[in-house]
């Protein structure tokens, strides 16, 4: 039995890798009539398939050692649903039929639900699962509306060909807004993000990696697909996406900065990255509307590159968090510390991914953001009223806050010394799980050093939208600096290497001593006096208190020797969920409690309901 499970995991991994090579080959349309169903691979789906196959393959390899079949009783279920989840996502990307799309979508959502409630007996996971289920089904409701509307326009459930749909202004607006609600909720766009932190935090780490790196992107895919259908888009839609994206980016990272739970932090930073992607899409659509080609190109390139990049580095981070979780036994960063000494490889990979997610050179995160900056700066010098130029300072602020968040995460987890005995006593080592992470991290570095590789891959997708070839070398007087970037990144790395070698040589000839960290003359330092992650980000969190708004419970101190029970507690609050939705739903629950009287278990009264309904319908029909 156990062997069977293990082999099925292996088979699944093979399947994913195999699928990866297949996805690379099919670049052309591949219509296959299947009843009314239509499957096709076009550049847009290929863009999403690439990280999908890469990441899910790595995740499968990782899960072999992370969730070993021999030790865990629930691994059969986990394996099954990971397979179903991946397959459903592939299906979502391939189908071109509304009904089938909804089926695949629902399959994906449900598989994610079962994955995230793998640890069934964990109450927190259950609660997160319920919130997720509610959120995803509200979104699906909007999608039902969307596809019915499309059916009304085209008369068939097949998705219309790109750039072919034109309809009345109102209907177009309704279709776009329903798509935004349905898909935006899945993508975690604010203010529909409330399910996301809980769901990502409570799933097994490799599942979180897939949810954050891949499933959120399905929402982005949905919006991009919908946008593609129309002949011309209303101007406000691009601005709406831009504003929502900016809002998500800023508030997402503000939320992330205040978190204590490592996986929640990563989840909130996913909101930020989705925000950045939507800034790019919004910029592109505004450019399309106003005829500013540079904005269009820069926006789409930025968004598409970031889609792939985020899939890569966020997966490394989540997989790394799994390793950390395994060895420290807690998700709370303030209880960890000093892990870099015991798992140097994980620490190094986590560092690479942290640098990438902050958008720092020479890694891949910088490339995507560079395109967005270029678009914003170009707007700053070229347009009469450069509102879009404000994207640049916004991104700078978001980048700065990302740096706070990830210096905090990396510093508290891996550096210093262990802050609690929990983190100290568990045996910890890198283990075989670092293999897949290494692969993904190398991809990050490769894209950062040679962005041209990925840009080449993304170019067909941009061409797919613009309908014309894109010449990046000359965009209305703007040159995209890909080659200089490569050169400078190499120069930077070379400088670092040269300096490191010189430093090493220099150190050899000099006396060297090891001692404890200087405690500013304090004689009895303990690990507990280290700065915690919470204190690290506190200043910033206070400045953005309107969104992060952590709850601080201060102890009441009485007398000279207060009782031991007086403790300070700090809990980050999710404003929308904890302050608005939960009270609202509990109020609704109360309000509808009288409805329960209708459910009393007496069969003949139920029959009466059926009869009454029938009667009412008959009267209504006439």
């Amino acid at each position: 039995m156990l062997v069977l499970v293990a082999s099925s995991i292996g088979w699944y991994a093979l399947f994913c890798l195999l699928g990866g090579t297949l996805g690379g080959i099919y670049q052309l349309d591949w219509p296959m009539p299947f009843g009314p169903a239509l499957f096709a691979v076009d550049p847009l789906s290929a863009l999403f398939l690439f990280p999908l196959f890469l990441v899910s393959g790595c995740v499968a390899l990782y899960s072999l050692s992370y969730w070993p079949a021999a030790e865990r009783s629930d691994s059969a279920r986990l394996t099954l649903f990971v397979g179903v989840f991946t397959a459903a996502m592939v299906l979502v990307l391939l189908v071109r039929n509304g009904v089938l799309f909804l089926m695949a979508w629902e399959l994906m959502a449900l598989a994610a639900y079962f994955l995230l409630t793998t640890e069934q007996h964990n109450r927190e996971a259950q609660k997160a699962g319920t919130i997720y289920l509610l959120a995803t089904h509200s979104g699906t409701m909007a999608l039902f509306a969307l596809f019915s509307l499309l059916h009304r326009v085209t008369g068939s459930f097949l998705l219309p060909a790109p750039h072919s749909l034109s309809t009345s202004v109102t209907l177009e607006a309704v279709i776009l807004v329903t798509a935004l609600i349905g898909f935006g909720g899945k993508a975690g766009l604010m203010p529909l993000h409330f399910w996301l932190p809980g769901a990502h935090a409570n799933a097994p780490s490799h599942v979180s990696a897939m949810m954050s790196g891949l499933m959120l992107k399905m929402g982005v895919y949905g919006i991009l697909r919908t946008v593609l259908l129309f002949v011309d888009l209303p101007g406000w839609f691009g601005w709406l996406l831009l504003v929502l994206g900016g809002w998500s980016a800023l508030n997402g990272i503000a939320l992330a900065a205040g978190q204590r739970d490592l996986k929640r932090l990563l989840a909130c930073s996913s909101i930020e990255n989705i925000g950045i992607i939507f800034i790019g899409i919004g910029m592109a659509l505004v450019g399309l509307q106003t005829g500013a080609q540079v904005l269009f190109i820069c926006g789409f390139f930025g968004a598409f590159l970031h889609i792939v990049n985020h899939g890569l580095f966020k997966s490394v981070l989540f997989l790394g968090s799994g390793v950390v979780l395994h060895s420290s036994g807690t998700r709370e960063m303030d209880r960890m510390g000093g892990l870099a000494k015991r798992m140097p490889v994980t620490a190094a990979l986590f560092l690479v991914a942290s640098l990438a997610i902050c958008g720092l050179p020479p890694l891949n995160g910088f490339v995507g953001e560079l395109f967005l900056y270029l678009g914003a700066l170009y707007d700053g010098i070229a347009s009469p009223l450069p509102v879009l130029a404000l994207v640049a300072p916004l991104l700078a602020l978001v980048g700065g806050m990302a740096a706070i968040t990830f210096v905090k995460a990396y510093g508290t987890i891996f550096l210093g010394t262990a802050r609690s005995t929990v983190a100290e006593h568990r045996h910890a080592a890198d283990g075989p799980m670092v293999g897949p992470m290494l692969l993904l991290a190398v991809c990050c570095l490769a894209i950062g050093l040679a962005p041209l590789l990925l840009v080449r891959m993304v170019a067909p997708v941009v061409r797919f939208y613009s309908g014309a070839d894109v010449n990046l070398a000359d965009l209305g007087g703007l040159q995209i600096p890909l080659m200089p970037l490569t050169a400078l990144n190499l120069l930077l790395l070379a400088l670092i290497v040269v300096l490191a070698v010189c430093y090493r040589l220099r150190l050899h000839g000099l006396p060297k001593a090891a001692s404890a960290t200087w405690g500013c003359a304090y004689q009895a330092p303990s690990p507990r006096i280290q700065y915690t992650g919470t204190s690290f980000s506190e200043m910033m969190v206070n400045l953005v208190g309107y969104v992060a708004a952590p709850q601080r419970l201060k102890p009441v101190l009485a007398g000279f020797f207060p009782a031991r029970t007086a403790t300070f507690s700090y809990r980050p609050v999710e404003l929308l969920l904890d302050r608005v939705l939960t009270p609202l739903f509990s109020w609704i629950g109360l309000a509808f409690s009288y409805m329960r009287r209708l459910q009393h278990g007496q069969l003949h009264i139920y029959v009466l309901y059926v009869f009454a309904t029938l009667f009412v319908l008959m009267i209504w029909a006439h």
Binding site: G359, L374, L394, G416, L495, R506, A514, Q530, M539
Partner: protein
């Protein structure tokens, strides 16, 4: 070619002198003779010959911190034009890379500070990332405004564009930008009123407290990169604030060096007459700088 060689020479050799001039100015204000102008060079050389003490808590991140910071700062120094001369490397959007290179350096400096496990260094690191996060938008708004005036996206063009004529035409907004840039210069280089680089009260410092545990050559590298950063950001400021050109390349270099020394004197004066701000007022001042630069942008747009 000659310009590139002079650029590298000036960028590599001038920085410690700026620190010396600042100290000398402060000494003059305090009525002392003060350390010799070349003291920073002596310090750095001495540190390179000293042994190191490494805390047992630290990992390779601690050792990498100063080196990565120096590498990033040197790369950034290649992107910024000094005086009226184009930078050795320039391309569209190089200002983004310029800003992000400092970000890279900051990431490693703060990570190295956290690596020691000292609460003081963690405190300094937290302040450093928070304040620079608030300073960054100002830099971008100021650069966008200048880019709009010059119609280019290259730092070399943007920063050599300001001229006395431009000052006369758009004096108000240039003044606002210069004020904002000066605030950023002081904040990013951890000078008074944001940070006191000479204090020995660990609780009040930002930059100095982060590097408490570094010693020997690594500390020399840190001192040098701090000075280099002052030069690079100072060059941005000087290019906007003193846009004069003699027409002769060599004379311009001389002018630039004099301007940088004057800036160092200016910083010394500010440090002598001002007290360090309360920590809670610093974000206010930085947001104020952002608003100044945004206001300058608004005036240019009109």
């Amino acid at each position: 070619m000659i310009d590139i060689i002079i650029h590298c020479t000036v960028a590599l050799l001038l920085p410690p002198l700026l620190l010396g001039v600042i100290t000398k100015t402060k000494a003059a204000f305090a009525g002392r003779i003060g350390a010799p102008l070349l003291q920073s060079y002596y310090d750095i050389f001495k540190l390179f010959r000293k042994g190191s003490v490494f805390s047992t808590t630290t990992t390779w991140v601690f050792r990498a911190g100063p080196l990565v910071t120096l590498a990033a700062t040197v790369t950034a120094a290649l992107l910024v034009p000094l005086g009226r001369h184009n930078a050795p490397l320039s391309f569209d959007g190089d200002m983004v890379l310029f800003a992000y290179l400092f970000g890279l350096g900051r990431f490693f400096t703060t990570a190295a500070a956290l690596d020691t496990g000292s609460s003081f260094e963690g405190m300094g690191a937290a302040r450093e990332v928070t304040f620079s996060c608030l300073a960054e938008p100002t830099l971008f708004i100021a650069l966008i405004t200048l880019a709009r005036m010059s119609g280019s996206l290259r730092l070399s063009t943007i920063l050599t564009y300001p001229s006395p004529g431009l000052w006369l035409a758009t004096g108000a907004s240039m003044l606002l930008l210069v004020a904002a840039l000066f605030i950023i210069l002081l904040a990013e280089n951890c000078r008074i009123p944001f940070d006191d680089p000479t204090t020995h009260l660990e609780l009040t410092m930002i930059h100095e407290v982060m590097v408490l545990d570094h010693s020997g050559p690594a500390f020399g590298v840190i001192l040098y990169s701090a000075a280099l950063k002052l030069l690079v950001l100072g060059a941005v400021f000087v290019n906007v604030a003193l846009p004069v050109s003699t027409g002769d390349s060599l004379e311009d270099w001389g002018l630039f060096v004099v301007a940088m020394l004057a800036l160092a004197v200016g910083i010394g004066v500010v440090e002598s007459v001002m007290a360090r701000l309360r920590l809670l007022r610093i974000p206010q001042l930085l947001v104020g700088a952002t608003i100044l630069s945004a206001f300058g942008m608004l005036l240019v747009l009109r």
